[in-house]
Amino acid sequence: MAAGIDNLAQKGNYNFEFMMNNTRVVIIKSKTALAANGLPDPASVLRIFRKGVEILTGSSRPEDGLSQIFTSQDNIGIKINTIGRRAISTYPETAVTLGLWLAKTFGHEDKITIWDRTNEELKDAGYKLSTSAGSLRIFGTDSRGFGYASEPVINRSVASLFSKIQTELVEASISLALLKDHGLAGITGGMKNYFGVIHNPNKYHETNCNPYVADLFEMDLIRKKHRLTILDALRVQYHRGPSYHPQWNEKCNQMIFGFDPVAVDTVGWKIIEGLRAKKGLPSLEEENREPAYLKTAENLDLGQARLENIEIIEEEV
């Protein structure tokens, strides 16, 4: 069993207070982020990650910034979303690049786990599964020895069994999801990505996924382990998401970084609204599916849902 939740905040030297009160959201753009084949270019993606963490933490070196967020002792989980298969899942070129950078910085590849619900979905999204000692671990909750905890955890409207990867292995979590329009939630971003941690997300899609996204995130098993949100907006599905529809999928060449999960998703929402307006589509509000969970999350003190309270920094690499 990994360290208890209550001990996490005391473990290591990372700057917990700094992270908790930081509503800075950093957008890093790169014209070379997508290779000619349309997939992320790992070298460019690494430059984006380094610059994003550097600015977010205010460090002179990106690796020093990482050390403000994690310690070398942390078992770091990179929660990705692979429901959309190869076309519209968190890309291996992105997640593995991040994992390798973390491993290089902290010296332990096998303390970094890239994960989602099932091995089948991971494979369909292009991942090569790995549980070998000394290398990045990439596997799903349905892997032998994991599965779901046997007793439901309850918070407000949500009652769910949690993946044992989240409860027993991961001590510090990064939400690394694609930014997408979502027919019910409005958008799917860093917060809704954690639907993949529980056994019954299908029960929480009504009423625009509200208040479920916020109620789930508020649970200690997520909130106290979550350290960083990175939204992949290299390509953005701005309409008819979360499924892949090439006619509404736009190259945006940017990634969004933040400690405040609500602020990051709020910025993501505005990016999607901008794309929709540019393409002559009605706003999410006009379609009665604005991401209401953001306001709920703000009311639960999970972060900032008002743009005027968010410090947005944009930079290009």
Partner: protein
């Protein structure tokens, strides 16, 4: 069937219960061994859905009307849109099967003493906080162990074990509608009956078709107010009431169960309203079972229902004119028995799921010859 044979079969029915505890996983079903599903998920096209533009679909099976994009699943967790086509993932994927006395369902006026070959898949279209089978009903199919048991194998197994009934139960059979429907046809070919144990949260069109192929449906009426359905069931009351009316209008035998949860759905006035509604809409003849709550799943902070509460509610329902009102989960209570509404004599004596004595001649009271509604042979 004469009375002696009837009682003999009832006793035999009880003995199946003992045997059933040893059955899980060892039932030698040839078909199950022959065709395991590679992924554990079936891929059979679902019925009752509309194809929409951009590979979206709208499910019409239950009143949720889930609208889903590609790769998304409905609320039930067992029906999935794949490239604009909707599939059931649980066709033949049996997560639980057992031999149960029909009294366990409970169905008291339907072949008493019979054994039902009972099956379920993962999934449910509601999310009751007091679910007693949540470990399969609130799961997605890949999260539970299942074995492949197609319709013909289910019917074959039921016949092999001398079960005159196939029962669709435990989770919510509406969500494995296609499997249930096809199995019912196979069961009928073998002269077996079909019993559906459901929450009644289904749309009229699929229910119309289902009624044509099954013999009895038991509906769990969870409460008689929408607030309870909103807060504890995650569903709607009105469609359930419509289902009850629709079933009562058909030739399918109907029984209703009401799980009484202390402080949540046990207000006498609500029970009185429900009894009045039942009498007005479907008549006094369909059995109503008040069953005792035990703390479980997400409601562990409430005590078991006091027997005195159950007795009081039964009295209210009978005062409103319902003829057959039973108490459940109270073994040995006199209200487990069937009494003639005309002469008051005891017609069927029960202890728990066991039939102890039957005082009926065919479908009539042995004492006053009053016809007792139900399916008796």
């Amino acid at each position: 069937m004469d009375r002696r044979k009837f009682i003999k079969s009832a006793v035999a029915g009880s003995s199946w219960l003992l045997a059933s505890n040893h059955l899980k996983g060892v039932l030698p079903l040839q078909a199950a061994a022959a065709r395991p599903a590679a992924s554990g998920l079936s891929r059979v096209e679902a019925r009752y859905y509309d194809k929409l533009p951009d590979r979206e679909i709208k499910c019409r099976l239950c009143p949720r009307f889930c609208r889903l994009g590609d790769k998304e699943r409905g609320f039930c967790g067992v029906r999935e849109n794949r490239d604009g086509k909707y599939y059931t993932l649980v066709y033949g994927q049996v997560a639980s099967y057992n031999l149960d006395p029909i009294e366990k369902k409970p169905l008291f006026h339907f072949l008493p003493g019979s054994t039902a070959f009972s099956i379920a898949t993962a999934g449910c279209n509601v999310a009751c906080k007091f679910c007693q089978n949540w470990e399969i009903s609130q799961m997605r199919p890949e999260q539970v162990k299942s074995r492949y048991l197609p319709p013909d194998s289910v019917a074959e197994a039921a016949a092999k074990y001398n079960c005159p009934i196939v029962s669709y139960t435990y989770s919510e059979p509406v969500i494995f509608y296609e499997f249930m429907y096809d199995t019912s046809l196979e069961a009928r070919r073998k002269r077996l009956r079909n019993a559906v144990i459901s929450n009644g949260f289904i749309n009229p069109e699929p229910l119309t078709e289902l009624i044509k192929v099954v013999e009895t449906i038991k509906i769990d009426l969870k409460a008689f107010n929408q607030d309870f359905y909103t807060n504890y069931v995650h569903g709607e009351l009105k469609p359930v009431l419509e289902s009850i009316k629709q079933i009562a209008r058909s030739k399918v035998w109907l029984e209703i169960v009401y799980l009484v949860i202390p402080t949540l759905n046990d207000r006498p006035e609500e029970i009185r309203q429900m009894a009045r509604w039942l009498k007005a809409e479907i008549g006094p003849e369909y059995p109503l079972h008040f069953t005792r709550f035990q703390p479980m799943y997400l409601i562990k902070n409430l005590p078991p229902t006091p027997v005195s509460t159950l007795e009081k509610l039964r009295q209210l329902a009978m005062e409103e004119g319902l003829h057959y009102v039973y108490l459940g989960n109270v073994p040995g209570h006199p209200a487990e028995n069937t009494y003639c509404p005309n002469c008051g004599q005891m017609l069927i004596e029960r202890y728990g799921y066991t039939i102890k004595k039957i005082n009926m001649s065919g479908n009539k009271c042995r004492f006053c010859h009053q016809i007792i509604p139900g399916v008796w042979s």
